[in-house]
């Protein structure tokens, strides 16, 4: 594997459109490619909103708000017909998530504290059943590379989905959230932008760090974690859920990142591979405190009625994270790829 780190300017080229995965994505991607209308797409919204066709379509429609696609007019971001397709998918996605991550038990801010306390309890290294525990105990480099390919769908735009919530918060909650985001964006140092650290890790692990390079290989379970954040971020009505999603990741990341640093060392992958996770051990120990004390506390003091949505954000993101974990661990247990197709052999 290649362990050299070139000093890279982040790529500014837009990613290519992916291959369709069903009738809906075929209609929408065709409209994006040709500049035409998404004819028939509205009738094609599939029953399984967690499935490949729906999640790829939603992912691509959201991508118009981030970096877009090569050859696609940036104005399509506000194409009313595409937005209508997006809205139908979002309604179906949200309805399924509300069923799968119920919050009927949440009465107020005290229940949010209890939910956070649950996230703060860590299993021992030997008992944990998550992907980072597996990688620490028995992971192999090919599995770690697959993990990075999955995670690249989010980490190459790390912190961007949460940035949408900034104008929807006010006062202390806004100030604290921006402090966390500022750290995610390298505290003013472009070399320390977390998305850029992730790209450097991908190169050091022999992967393609191009934005969207693994989209065709990323299954629906992977895309759903990202579409969830984009949906929460882009809807002011879901700002409580966005904050809950943000908290769920910041609260669990530091110990998970520490396991991955040790997993990388155990697999003999070298310190330049570990830098991204090493940074997150310390950074997220701070972010946890800022999110709980600085964001959630003043947010709920001002708007206690958001308590249920904050918990919904925690539970919905945990629900989707567990689905992805099952896919990864199930595939690896059968010595099969967890991606839609195996990674190309590294050179």
């Amino acid at each position: 594997m290649t362990l050299t780190r070139q000093a890279p300017a982040p790529s500014t080229t837009e990613p290519a459109l992916p291959a369709p995965r069903g009738p809906l994505s075929a209609a929408v991607l065709d409209a994006l490619r040709t500049g035409g209308r998404p004819g028939g797409a509205l009738d094609a919204v599939p029953d399984d909103v967690y499935g490949e066709d729906a999640q790829l379509t939603l992912y691509c429609l959201y991508e118009l708000h981030y970096r877009g696609f090569a050859g696609v007019d940036p104005e399509r971001e506000w194409d009313p017909e595409l937005l209508t397709v997006r809205r139908d998918l979002e309604r179906a996605f949200l309805a399924r998530l509300r069923e799968d991550a119920p919050v009927d038990d949440v009465r107020g801010p005290a229940d949010v504290d209890a939910e956070m306390a649950g996230l703060l309890t860590e299993p021992t290294d030997a008992d944990g059943t998550g992907v980072s525990h597996h990688l620490l105990r028995d992971g192999e480099p090919w599995q770690f590379r697959e993990y990075l390919a999955h995670r690249s769908m989010y980490h190459l735009k790390e912190a961007d989905p949460q940035a949408w919530v900034i104008p929807r918060l006010h006062g202390a909650a806004k100030a604290a959230l921006v402090t966390v985001e500022h750290d995610e964006y390298g505290s003013g140092d472009p070399e320390r932008v977390h998305a850029r650290l992730f790209a450097a890790m991908m190169r050091a692990a022999g992967l393609d760090d191009g934005y969207g390079a693994y989209l065709d290989l990323a299954p629906a379970e992977t895309l759903a974690e990202v579409t969830l954040m984009s949906m929460f971020g882009l809807h002011r009505a879901l700002r409580g859920a966005l904050v809950g999603q943000f908290a769920a990741v910041e609260l669990t990341s530091s110990p998970g990142s520490d396991r991955l640093v040790r997993a990388i060392a155990r697999m003999g992958l070298g310190p330049e591979v570990a830098e991204f996770y090493a940074e997150h051990v310390e950074a997220d120990a701070v972010h946890e405190q800022l999110v709980r004390r600085g964001v959630i506390r003043p947010l709920l003091a001002a708007e206690p009625e958001l308590a249920a949505d904050v918990v919904f954000g925690v539970r919905a993101s945990s629900f989707l994270a567990e689905r992805l974990e099952r896919r990864l661990l199930g595939a690896w247990g059968a010595r099969a790829t967890s991606l839609r197709e195996p990674l190309p052999p590294i050179g």
């Binding site: 860590e122 008992d127 059943t129 530091s254």
Partner: protein, 70 residues
């Protein structure tokens, strides 16, 4: 911003210090943090002392998903 530094004692783990800081350890070694907020370990369990790495948390023998990071 006022010239006054802000320090918050969380009571459950780290002490939070605002602004980039140089931290001098008991052996006289100075470590630098450029973060806008730094979490200093008070429980002495951190593998990255003087910085908190969340080792102050309770460990429990039970199944739990292990997060990635952001």
């Amino acid at each position: 911003m006022s010239g006054r530094n802000r320090v918050e004692i969380t009571g459950e783990g780290p002490v939070l210090v605002n602004g980039p800081v140089d931290v001098t350890g008991p052996d006289g070694e100075v470590v630098r943090s450029e973060r806008s907020v730094t979490a200093l370990c008070t429980c002495r369990r951190s593998r990255r002392f003087p910085f908190c790495d969340t080792s102050h948390r309770d460990r429990e023998r039970r199944a739990h998903r292990g997060g990635g990071s952001r």
